[in-house]
Symmetry: C2
Subunit: 326 residues, 2 copies
Amino acid sequence: MTVPPRSEPTEANTLGEVGEFGLIRSITGDLAADPRVLVGPGDDGAVVRIEGDLVISTDTVVSGVHFRPDWSLPHEVGQRAVAAAVADLIAMGSRPVALVVAFTAPADLAASWAKQCTQGMKVEAAKSGIALVGGDVTSGPVVVITVTVFGDLAGRSPILRSGARPGDEVALRGRIGWSAAGLRVLSRGFRSPRVLVDAYKVPEVVYSAGEEARTAGATSMIDVSDGLLADLGHVATASGVRVDLRRDAFTVPEPINAVAAATGADPWTFLLTGGEDHALAATFPPGSVPEGWLVIGRVAETGKTGPEVLVDGQPWADESGWDHFR
Amino acid sequence: MTVPPRSEPTEANTLGEVGEFGLIRSITGDLAADPRVLVGPGDDGAVVRIEGDLVISTDTVVSGVHFRPDWSLPHEVGQRAVAAAVADLIAMGSRPVALVVAFTAPADLAASWAKQCTQGMKVEAAKSGIALVGGDVTSGPVVVITVTVFGDLAGRSPILRSGARPGDEVALRGRIGWSAAGLRVLSRGFRSPRVLVDAYKVPEVVYSAGEEARTAGATSMIDVSDGLLADLGHVATASGVRVDLRRDAFTVPEPINAVAAATGADPWTFLLTGGEDHALAATFPPGSVPEGWLVIGRVAETGKTGPEVLVDGQPWADESGWDHFR
């Protein structure tokens, strides 16, 4: 049996016209060679060489839930999906190695949308040093993209949520609150401040942060995806500690103050509970916080109320993180 | 911050009532310990130890596309998703090691559906010797399940689609046509023959087949997921060979004959083009086909028409495999 030749995706085509294999070819046609990738797309599985233990993480984005096609361009959707997934790898202290994507879409989706989305994935993959090695393409009523990523610990131990110790300093690398403020802007029908809208569309992940924290001896680390309080809450629970944050450690960014004032919100809600910027939060032995990281608090023994996160010595009133079913 | 306690899924609850973290707990609460899994669910990523090169494959099933909730029980949907994914690992000659699942569902889905589905995944994972190590749970308008699996080559080379050589014998391990015939039965509103319906709902993958083929020196191998002709077509193209199949090598199973007769179909359409049974097809040097494998043809040099699959010396009239967007 020979595979019939089909046209490449252009503006005029839908996925139904291009076909499953046409889309796969357009995704895999221009992949860069990577010495770690022994077998790329096109067989039953990809084959990748890693040196140490393997870190795995998987993340799904759904059209209308995690992104709105009228707000985000397809390449932004692709970039964001990869950035969010790779952030988990670096938060474990691993080196990003390989990525597979499962792409579900309706047959009447413009093939160009799918192609630009996967181009965005490749852009962000190149930024973070990860190789796209394969995937699955299938039809469904709505666009659903699952990105699964693999990191290499290269002989070292993972940096877990459970390693924070009383006395450690708590530090942050990357932005918080920007994505949530950008979402607020878009939700109110505005397109500016542009920096916030852009931050919502594609998070700016500091890909060097995981390695910086590892080198400095981080005792615990987490990707801030659900919001700073929610994610440090996971660290507190896993480590059996209390995390004390100080608001005077932060400078509220001017655009976030502006959006809070214009929309009647508390800027601290964005900073403390806004997710999806994918900063890294980590704990370090006293005096060993690396350059570029912002010290935001300290780890303490738990009190009577158990593991918790306090802000200026008090529980935060609106501390809820994001729950996908609520 | 403390994570508030929530009820476990029961018949009465929807995912919206149970919450994202409640569902995650119900999935990960009873995982068996596995020496290969260094860090299980609950951190930014799972950590897995593998000996050799890593094989990766990802597969998505969508409600209404790959399964119908009125035809398949939730645990059958889960079993099938895992079986299909693991079949790709063994078709590469690797040992199944770890699995992550991305589960997207509407908030009003019964929590028991999600729980039974993941229980089915665990049942099939145990059968195939793979460990569930993590996942992602998110809301969306329809159930979409992406299973990503990891295999260990343990110092050996992968068995690719591209290694078939003229003179090799072509052999098959597992059933073909059963799932397609079962689907035909259900599509016509019947529930029997039960063996076919069951084969459609949960494929019976021969998990030892990959190792058997490797030990015997298979030159190429593929998971028959799209249909025998379509998948051997991939082998022919990748290897630059012709594959000659002989129909007299097959015995048409009695239930398939019965369904073909009752529904006005050609039983050979089921056998040659029916997908989703996840048999393995492989090529072997002459005389080295292992026990339990059915010799179904031979590999030859390509003729003027290039790589192809012939049935009794002729192209098969209806040779199309499944294209998800057509």
